[in-house]
């Protein structure tokens, strides 16, 4: 693929609003998981909740989009001058030439869960419940497209936990095909009862803060996040150190709906796909931001895939110990974390993990490592065996 610039990006998760707070938390090895006190949820688990999402108000013309997911989207869009960067991009290319491709797993489902508690005597949902603006997956895409006054093509990818990694591929292909000149990509997923109780039912939720790749790992901690990037062709006068997307690898496990292929064959194929698109070899990779959810089987499968391609040569970590597993937003959040890693020469530690599982034959970072990074892989794998690996690069020096 033709490399694209991540000319602007931002992320908001439990560890911070915007890039500065996110980087500071990564540098300090500071996580943000806390015992679950979300809504009326009565589960013994830890979550990565973004503070004060409820205080966000949407602009009046977009009131029909009001739900936790779109409030979180709005909060994140307001950081790091992202809106101004999109406006400048729209002035360059025209709003019809900029696409919006976002990922989510549950969109505004919380709004529907709450509306069901207010059903009338006839069973009807309350008058104020707006399906299209909240529950539907495209609610997120529609809201962001309108918020940014963009008029190009748009779609929301919803492939569980790979959703907002795969949107980088969708946008890159439309740019390569000449249908659009640039795209806003990203992901937003917010806490709701369906995922908290659903992952609990699957016995995939940790009681304590999740410990990816630890010998005693016992499940995920659910989080929420919103992350966005502006993708556009690399300008000849792009500033040195511009982060580039050079490869997107996608595959399907064809194995099971909620368990990964035990040997990580799908994960391996996704990483190989990203390397092939970028024209890179495994030895070019300097750091891998793992999917690393913290469940015994997910981490074992991913470790086998990583070890088969990279051995123990490449430092790897999962940042989900800090942010929680932000599900449909994880791909975009971790792409932004990978971009920060490239920009600031920091391979971030996987926090909470004290004893990396010796059965997982990878170089798992339990401490931050300051080192120049030129090529970083970011892995995202989801239910349905949906795998996506992104390759991000930054020119050295």
């Amino acid at each position: 693929m033709r490399p694209l610039a991540l000319s602007h990006f931002t992320a908001t998760s439990a560890i911070g609003r915007g890039l500065e707070a996110t980087l500071a938390a990564l540098r300090a090895g500071r996580g943000a998981l806390a015992p679950c006190a979300f809504e009326t949820v009565a589960l013994e688990t830890w979550i990565g909740e973004v503070p004060q999402v409820d205080a966000i108000r949407l602009p009046a013309p977009l009131a029909r989009f009001d739900c936790r997911n779109n409030r979180l989207a709005q909060l994140a869009l307001a950081q790091d001058g992202f809106i101004a960067a999109v406006e400048a991009c729209a002035a360059r290319y025209g709003p019809r030439r900029i696409g919006v491709f976002l990922g989510t797993s549950t969109s505004g489902t919380l709004q529907t869960e709450l509306a069901y508690r207010r059903r009338g005597p006839d069973g009807a949902l309350p008058e104020d419940f707006v399906y299209a603006g909240t529950h539907n997956p495209f609610s997120l895409g529609d809201f962001v497209r309108r918020s940014l006054a963009l008029e190009g093509p748009a779609a929301v990818v919803s492939t569980a936990c790979s959703s907002s990694a795969k949107v980088f591929g969708s946008a890159a292909r439309l740019i390569e095909a000449g249908v659009i000149d640039a795209a806003v990509v990203g992901g937003v997923d917010s806490l709701c009862l369906t995922t908290l109780y659903g992952f609990h039912a699957l016995q995939l939720v940790a009681r304590d803060p999740c410990r990816p790749f630890d010998v005693a790992r016992d499940g995920i901690s659910i989080g929420e996040a919103a992350a966005f990037a502006l993708l556009e062709p690399l300008a000849s006068d792009a500033p040195p150190g511009t982060v580039r997307l050079t490869g997107v690898g996608e595959s399907s496990d064809a194995y099971h709906m909620s368990s990964p292929h035990p040997d990580g064959l799908g994960a391996r194929a996704a990483m190989l796909g990203a390397l092939a698109e970028a024209g890179r070899r495994p030895e070019d990779i300097d750091y891998i931001n793992l999917h690393g959810t913290g469940t015994p089987s997910n981490d074992a499968a991913e470790a086998r895939a990583v070890a088969s391609l990279f051995g123990t040569r490449v430092p790897v970590s999962s940042t989900k110990g800090a942010t929680g597993h932000t599900l449909g937003a994880a791909g975009a959040l971790e792409a932004v974390i990978s971009a920060l890693a490239l920009r600031h020469a920091l391979a971030p530690a996987g926090i909470n993990t004290t004893t990396p599982d010796p059965a997982l034959a990878v170089d798992y970072l339990t401490d931050n490592r300051a080192q120049e990074l030129a090529c970083v892989l970011s892995n995202s794998f989801g239910f349905g065996g949906s795998n996506c690996s992104l390759l991000l690069e930054r020119s050295r020096g």
Binding site: M1, R92, Y93, G94, R97, T109, T112, E113, A115, Y116, G123, A124, L125, Y131, A132, H135, N136, P137, F138, S139, G141, D142, E151, G152, P153, A154, A155, V156, V157, S158, T159, A160, K166, S170, R173, L174, E176, A177, G178, V179, D181, L193, T194, Y197, G198, A201, L202, E250, S251, S252, A254, Y255, H256, M257, S258, G382, F383, G384, G385, S386
Partner: protein, 269 residues
């Protein structure tokens, strides 16, 4: 602020699958859409997906059955290596019955939800079951653009085909929500269609299509029951294209995508 000329995406339609109210397969749909037979709506009947292992077959919901049926129709007469075939699944929403069940359970005092139903609730359930059934390790995506989901799926499929120079199977499908969600999102019926798209013409190719984003009114259908279907189900927004393909005539169709943005398709048999 110069706007460059719209790019065209080109593909060859190799096979089509359709399943909807009164439309049991593509040959029966051709007769109706070409005007040779009257359209008589009847409840959509999706057969069980025989290609799935028995354990999975028992677990899949009606929406997944619908999608897989249309997909299998489109592939029935091809010799493609399905394991290597990329797929795009486009639907406005996920499985409505599961969504209702979860929301009702989570609003009650006992919040236990079924683990199997939980993993079936994801928007990419059909995509996941398809890859398991077909042992397909090829990339597969699942997306939504609300009422414009068919056009969004077609655009994604055409972009994949253009960049990777390989065939892509598009499956667009939607089924009705139960009440009380139905009152808020009245999807009229279960409808699915599948288009097997290829970068080159081959034996059995039925038409070439060229797509471009435009600002133009979307086509409607003269036949009132068919037009109700088009308006009533997001996946059926593709009916003007299917009608053109059924007639086997050269022409241009415009299908609804987003407010102020449509997808125009030149169809050349």
């Amino acid at each position: 602020m110069a706007e460059s000329a719209p790019s065209r995406l080109k593909a060859y339609v190799r096979a089509i699958g359709v399943l909807g109210p009164g439309l049991r397969d593509w040959p029966s749909a051709v007769a109706v859409l070409a005007g040779r037979e009257p359209y008589t709506p009847a409840p959509t009947e999706a057969p069980p997906p025989v290609t799935l292992p028995p354990a999975e077959r028992r677990r899949v919901g009606a929406t997944v059955r619908l999608a897989l049926s249309a997909a299998q129709q489109a592939l029935a007469a091809t010799d493609l290596d399905v394991a290597q075939l990329a797929t795009v699944f486009a639907a406005s929403g996920g499985d409505g019955a599961i969504c209702h069940e979860f929301c009702a359970t989570l609003a009650s005092s006992d919040r236990q939800i079924s683990p199997t139903r939980f993993h079936n609730s994801v928007h990419n359930a059909a995509s996941g079951y398809w890859s398991i059934a077909m042992r397909s390790t090829a990339p597969s995506t699942a997306l939504s653009a609300y009422d414009g989901s068919f056009a969004a799926g077609l655009l994604e499929a055409l972009a994949q085909l253009t960049v990777r120079t390989a065939p892509v199977l598009l499956v667009s499908y939607d089924s009705a929500y139960p009440e009380p969600l139905h009152a808020k999102r009245p999807i009229a019926a279960a409808f699915a269609c599948a288009l097997l798209l290829a970068p080159r013409p081959e034996t059995g190719t039925c038409a070439r299509i060229e797509a471009a984003l435009v600002q133009a009114p979307g086509d409607t259908l003269e036949d009132e029951p068919l037009e109700s279907l088009r308006r009533g189900v997001p996946a059926a927004r593709g009916l003007p294209l299917l009608r053109q393909l059924a007639r086997g005539e050269r022409g241009r169709v415009v299908i609804d995508y987003l407010p102020g943005l449509q997808l125009a398709l030149e169809v050349v048999p």
